[in-house]
């Protein structure tokens, strides 16, 4: 038993020593590993969620439904939380570069577990020209393998083609990496062309 306790303590000490606490650890949600979710060419699971945009909270009787945009290219972006640093950078970039990243005939929706009221304030603060969807129990995030273990979403992006199938996905989208934005731009254009 002594040997077992010693082994346990040693392993715990090793892990503690290898786990430096930084300011970032205290302020940012942590994400888990990716498993599952619809892959390229698979049908994107339909969902229906309440929403808000810069003009306020959408009517409760008119949630956003993915299937209602069949025939269009839809970008579905999962993100951790309103008003956090990375998410603000990402949403601001999506808004300010909307035409270049997405274009006029593409629908963008962004999903987190925040309430529609919080979404409304966040969208208004940044002037976001697209809907933020509220998925408080993370049912949709789980379907898309974008739910982490601590109640936040992972930062992921799916591009759903006009035929309702996944044409591109980035399961670890980095809000500060220009390469991730240029890949997304290319994927949206390709999906919109239907190739």
């Amino acid at each position: 038993m002594m040997r077992v306790s010693g082994l346990f303590l040693a392993l715990t000490a090793c892990l503690a020593a290898a786990s430096p606490m930084t300011a970032q650890d205290r302020t940012e949600p942590v994400r888990a590993r990716v498993q599952g979710g619809p892959d390229i060419d698979q049908r994107a699971p339909d969902f229906s969620l309440p929403w808000a945009n810069r003009d306020g909270v959408g009517p409760i009787e008119s949630p956003y439904q993915l299937a209602s945009d069949r025939g269009k290219t839809v970008v579905v972006a999962f993100y951790p939380r309103d008003f956090t640093k990375g998410c603000t950078a990402q949403m601001r970039t999506f808004a300010e570069q909307y035409d270049s990243l997405f274009g006029p005939n593409v629908v963008l929706v962004a999903i987190s577990s925040d309430s529609v009221q919080t979404h409304g304030r966040f969208a208004a603060s940044l002037g976001l020209p697209f809907r933020l969807l509220s998925d408080p129990d993370q049912r949709v995030s789980k379907q898309y393998a974008s739910k982490d273990s601590e109640g936040y979403n992972r930062r992921t992006v799916y591009v759903v083609g006009p035929d309702g199938r996944v044409r591109f996905r980035n399961m670890s989208f980095n809000a500060l990496d220009p390469k991730d934005y240029s890949e997304l731009r290319g994927a949206v254009r390709k999906a919109a062309r239907g190739s």
Partner: protein, 175 residues
């Protein structure tokens, strides 16, 4: 039998911890070897960070003109640069997301942030340092190891700068 049961419990309890280490946006670990990467400057000329890393202490801040926290941090960075600039290389890496060289140049003219500015169009350093947010500061010691990471408008890096420069006195102008 008992040993394997204890180990099973241990591994179950620490599974979440291992997930944390693979975190999507957790930043580079303190104690890790600082990646040596090449990043362009605002004129598009490549700058090899290897000319500094492992040779002298380096202060890196990942920033953008739209980052309010970076602006809030500027007085602290300017004071640090004034105090330690002769011993530490101060570099600000612009993340280039939602930026243009013109916008950055205009910003630098008015704000004078106290570091040499690089412009990471390819995101090479963003990925290498696992940058989780703008205002992210990484201090690398003389041996090339990460000695500090943090983000936000107020940061506690004075003690680390003092240590990496092996100067125990607090220079004038620092908080």
């Amino acid at each position: 039998m008992r040993l394997s049961r204890v180990l099973l419990v241990f591994l179950t309890l620490t599974a979440g911890w291992f997930d944390r280490t693979s975190a999507q946006e957790s930043g580079i670990a303190v104690g890790a070897q600082a990646p040596v990467v090449t990043v362009n400057d605002l004129d598009g000329k490549p700058v090899d960070l290897g000319q500094y890393i492992g040779k002298k202490p380096v202060f890196l801040e990942f920033w953008a003109t739209w980052c309010e926290l970076c602006e809030e941090l500027q007085p602290q960075v300017r004071a640090a640069q004034a105090a330690y600039g002769s011993k530490v290389e101060f570099i600000g890496v612009n993340v280039t997301v939602n930026q243009s060289p013109q916008r950055v140049r205009k910003y630098l003219e008015t704000h004078k942030p106290g570091f040499r500015t690089l412009y990471d169009t390819e995101g090479t350093s963003i990925r290498a340092y696992k940058v989780p947010a703008t205002s992210y500061v990484v201090i690398v010691d003389r041996a090339g190891k990460v000695a500090y990471t943090g983000s936000g408008g107020t940061q506690d890096f004075e003690r680390v700068l003092r240590t990496v420069t092996q100067d125990q006195s607090t220079p004038a102008g620092m908080k």
